[in-house]
């Protein structure tokens, strides 16, 4: 039973206020959102920060929901979602398995977003909303752009090889708790 203590210790060391591992659905999304909202509420978090965290969480969770349906052979079809809270920032992290053939497109998209400043992100947002139809899964292709805009920070990401065909995609977004400190 030592893993329980280890997990507990890691959560405290890393300042994690929420960890969810498993299947992602709209119902789970709503629960995770309301738990985190209540947590921020009880800590007396500023409403502008609460809104930004909520915003980034929704896009992140709905991304996982939409892409979780893609069956991946020989890889567990479950994802992880983590919210960390430090003195200076919230850290919203997701991790899910993806097929290796999707990595190139995904990293190109994220690099493009990370290469843009505030004005560039605004223009990209307008371009996508004007010219793109909702995908079959209901995505507008705006999630990452919105996460970058609302957080005012770069999206950190990583692909960890799992099998010959799959990798684990981790995405981390930070929301500053220091007013006016956004880039």
């Amino acid at each position: 039973m030592k893993y329980i203590y280890d997990l507990h210790r890691i959560m405290i060391q890393e300042d994690l206020i929420l960890v969810y591992e498993g299947e992602f659905t709209q119902e789970i999304t709503k629960s995770v959102l309301s738990m985190t909202e209540r947590n921020m509420e009880s800590m007396g978090e500023e409403s502008s920060i609460k809104r930004k965290v909520f915003n980034v969480m929704v896009e992140c969770l709905q991304n996982i929901c939409k892409h979780a349906e893609e069956a991946i052979e020989d890889a567990p079809n479950s994802a992880i979602f983590i919210v960390g809270k430090r003195d200076e920032e919230y850290v919203i992290t997701s991790g899910n398995p993806i097929r290796n053939d999707k990595i190139a497109l995904l990293s190109a998209k994220l690099d493009q977003i990370n290469g843009l400043d505030k004005e560039g992100l605004k223009n990209l947002y307008k371009e996508i909303i004007r010219n793109t139809e909702l995908s079959e899964k209901g995505g507008a292709g705006l999630g990452f752009v919105d996460m970058a805009r609302k957080s005012g920070q770069k999206l950190e990401y990583d692909f960890h090889p799992v099998t010959e065909k799959t990798s684990f995609f981790s995405l981390q977004t930070r929301v500053s708790r220091m007013a006016g400190m956004e880039v």
């Binding site: 709503k30 809104r51 307008k126 909702l134 209901g138 752009v145």
Partner: protein, 120 residues
């Protein structure tokens, strides 16, 4: 015309579309599981309304939060309103919610409908 009156929920907005009383309003939170499906009846209603609209249509958005998939559908609603003469949009935002204010500003740049911005 029939009245659309949807109770809001934690992931869907409250919506009232009432031609005879001149009330057109979307408020609350919008992050439905299937955004296109959720907004389809609203867009259909607006298409029918556009055939015999009131002389003035004041459409109110008082959203606390909307996700990116909803933003696409909000633009679709605005595109319908664009074609209805005498339409104005009232865009409410919480006084410390710069993102919601900015979002309204961006929508107003994407369509040819006059926007009134109101802080609450």
């Amino acid at each position: 015309m029939e009245i659309i009156n949807l109770e809001g929920a934690e992931d869907t907005p409250k919506i009232i579309l009432d031609k005879s009383n001149g009330i057109f309003e979307i408020s609350g939170r919008s992050l439905p599981e299937d955004t296109a499906e959720f907004y389809r009846p609203i867009l259909d209603w607006l298409s029918r309304y556009a055939q015999t609209p009131n002389s003035k249509t004041q459409f109110t958005f008082k959203l606390e939060y909307f996700n990116t998939a909803s933003s696409k559908l909000i633009l679709d609603i605005l595109a319908k309103l664009e074609a209805i003469p005498g339409t104005t949009v009232e865009w409410y935002f919480h006084e410390d919610d710069e993102d919601m204010e900015e979002a309204g500003g961006e929508f107003s740049e994407l369509v040819e409908v006059p926007f009134d911005f109101k802080a609450y």
